[in-house]
């Protein structure tokens, strides 16, 4: 796995926001991971864990506080104008709220064609039209939709427009921030299937952020679990669900309701007590220590580091001791 080409290399990324009394809100506090070509990396975590901030900092929408992010070997926070321009063609985003992320007064055609025009991907008007229609069809919309205004569309259709817009410049990397959480259950499956088909068809690399673990598992090859600005576990999807190492991951997994009364009644739920501490003043040591059922003395003093506990299975937890490098 490790000989594959790394598209995105994130090292010790930090993003702090100034808070009251000279303190800092540590939204992302030292996160390290790589995304390989052609894979889907999912990030899960509860609200406030820093997953969206992490994603946005990784693709340069937000400035970083510390650490480095390399996209195909280039530091994305130190790009020239020209490099940045090329980067925006390579990396595209799909947002959570299909109502806020599309200008309601624009015609669908213009929304999709904008990227094509900016990057001069079409030689002439007819070519542009052909491209837009192809994109619409690919996203499951009709040619007739091109001339309509965005406000005429439902949430699911808007998300399709957002996907067509993102793919209009033929990117290799797609960043999806909770792309389906604003949609109804029956529509969610449509969009997930569409994203998975497109990924295969266009050989996309995807960075997928969501709070819904069952959806992340369905779509991702590898999953990172975040808690209070830190990544606590990172491994491939099936391993994470079959054999989680970090107690937080375990709690998160058992908290997911399963739509089956027998299985639901038969399994043991690990109900976490308390709530996520404030990211302004996070606990010393392991950030999960206060809520962890397997907490030991060391957890309150020393912060655990991410270690490769089993091949390709990383976790930051004292339960697994300390491996000397």
């Amino acid at each position: 796995m490790n000989d594959r080409e790394k598209i995105l290399e994130v090292k010790n990324l930090k993003k702090y926001y100034p808070a009251k009394h000279g303190n800092y809100l540590k939204a992302v506090d030292g996160v390290t991971f790589d995304i390989y070509r052609g894979e889907t990396l999912g990030i899960v975590g509860e609200s406030g864990c820093g997953k969206t901030t992490c994603g946005k900092t990784c693709i340069g929408i937000l400035p970083k506080t510390d650490g480095t992010v390399y996209f195909r070997g280039k530091d994305i926070h130190r790009m020239t104008r020209k490099q940045r321009f090329a980067f925006t063609k390579e990396v595209q985003m799909i947002f959570q709220d299909p109502y806020a992320s599309l200008d309601p007064h624009q015609k669908v055609y213009n929304i999709i064609a904008e990227g094509i025009r900016i990057h001069r991907l079409a030689g002439n008007k007819t070519e542009e039209q052909k491209m837009v229609l192809e994109l619409l069809e690919m996203a499951g919309l009709l040619a007739g939709h091109a001339s309509r205004n965005v406000h005429e569309f439902s949430g699911g259709q808007r998300q399709r427009i957002g996907i067509a817009r993102a793919l209009s410049v033929n990117p290799g990397f797609l960043f999806c921030d909770e792309p389906i959480s604003a949609l109804d259950v029956s529509i969610q499956a449509q969009i997930i299937n569409l994203l998975m088909d497109l990924k295969k068809e266009k050989d996309l690399t995807m960075f997928f952020i969501a709070h819904d673990l069952s959806i992340v598992r369905h779509i991702s090859d590898r999953i990172g679990v975040m808690y209070l600005g830190k990544m606590v576990e990172l491994t491939d999807s099936d391993t994470l669900y079959d054999h989680p190492l970090h107690p937080y991951t375990e709690a998160l997994l058992t908290a997911i309701p399963i739509a089956d009364p027998d299985i639901s009644a038969g399994r043991k739920q690990m109900i976490l007590e308390g709530e996520v501490p404030s990211p302004v003043n996070p606990p010393q040591g392991c950030r999960f220590a206060g809520r962890c059922k397997k907490c030991m003395g060391i957890c309150h003093d020393t912060e655990p580091v991410m270690q490769e506990i089993e091949p390709n299975h990383w976790a930051a937890c004292h339960l697994y001791g300390r491996k000397e490098k």
Partner: protein
């Protein structure tokens, strides 16, 4: 055992300048005392409007149509006066909503808001007794520092805590029915698990019935005895939870069950998407509302709406497929 609540031919429409939206169209169901019934459906299917009708909370331009009847322990509540409603709410039946922050008064301390509920009902308690009762109730919902919580404002609490406060407020009058309208939708999964567990415990302690309104079949599987599935303002299927999960009859119920990814299933399996969108309720289709998206739709589905018919025991569905075996010209409007 008599029913706690009986809803008969409930129809609710919203009369706007532009059109009349038929949010709920002629639904009937019963709730048994002490049981949890789940009302499941997507946004716009009329599940929240139904729950608000039971609490007398439908406001203009909405209107409960003529002929709709709701009975609470045999008493018809649809033509209650304002005074009667005030006595009913909180004491017989309470409701909690999805957004606890919007339901709480941001300028009032939690203690005052909870005690207000007791003040509204003639409890004959002294102030100290009321405070004691409020602390007891908050502690019962799992708030560690219940006495300290009374002195806090809603914005000082986290989402999970606010929802606990809402539950405490709803239950302090010891109602026989609690309507929980998407009680955990805005919460994280680990907090959701806490709240659901708490609700279950409280239900046993206080022996109340719960009407759980939700779109999430996962939380239903764990909590509900009975399930009612709504689509476009109508009940499409209802029955005991196990029947609905293991022997669903209506194509919509089946599709709904297959469209959510599950962590206990093979993840390479493609999800079943329900194509198309929900119909416009200002102009609902003449026949079955699901027929435009139904993989098994027949000609009759477009023309005539199926009625809810018994399948086995309390399990019923509104689908023409279901009638194929028995039908001999049984159409209806």
């Amino acid at each position: 055992m008599g029913n706690l609540l009986e809803v008969r031919n409930l129809s609710v429409s919203f009369f706007t300048y532009e059109s009349t939206v038929q949010a709920v169209r002629d639904i009937s169901f019963d709730l048994a005392p002490g049981e949890t019934t789940a009302l499941v459906g997507e946004s716009g299917c009329g599940k929240s409007v139904t729950s608000k009708s039971i609490m007398g909370l439908i406001k203009k331009p909405g209107k409960i149509l003529e002929g709709s009847r709701i009975y609470f322990k045999g008493q018809c509540i649809t033509d209650f006066t304002i005074k009667e409603w005030e006595r009913f709410r909180g004491k017989n039946c309470s409701i909690i909503f999805q957004d606890a922050l919007a339901s709480l008064n941001p300028t009032m301390k939690i203690g005052r808001q909870i005690i207000e509920v007791l003040n509204n009902h003639d409890t004959g308690l002294s102030r100290d007794e009321k405070v004691k009762k409020a602390v007891e109730m908050l502690a019962m919902t799992g708030i560690a520092d219940a006495a300290g919580c009374l002195e806090k404002y809603p914005h000082e609490l986290s989402g999970g805590m606010r929802q606990r406060v809402m539950i405490a407020m709803a239950l302090i009058g010891r109602p026989e029915l609690l309507i929980a309208d998407e009680p955990t939708t805005s919460l994280d999964v680990t907090v959701q698990a806490q709240i659901l567990e708490q609700m279950k415990q409280l239900q046993q302690k206080l022996n109340m019935a719960i009407l759980l309104v939700t779109h999430d079949l996962g939380i239903v599987a764990d909590a509900a005895n009975k399930i009612i599935i709504m689509y476009a303002g109508r009940i499409v299927e209802q029955g005991p939870a196990r029947e609905i999960f293991y022997h669903p009859v209506h194509p919509y119920t089946k599709a709904l069950l297959d469209s959510v990814p599950r962590i206990d299933r093979d993840r390479t399996k493609r999800l079943r998407a329900i194509e198309g969108n929900i119909p416009d309720m200002a102009n609902p289709p003449k026949g079955c509302a699901f027929c435009g998206r139904c993989p098994e739709a027949m000609n009759i589905c477009e023309e005539h709406a199926p009625v809810l018919r018994q399948i086995e025991g309390p399990h019923a569905a509104a689908c023409w497929l279901n009638e194929l075996h028995t039908i001999h010209g049984g159409t209806d409007a």
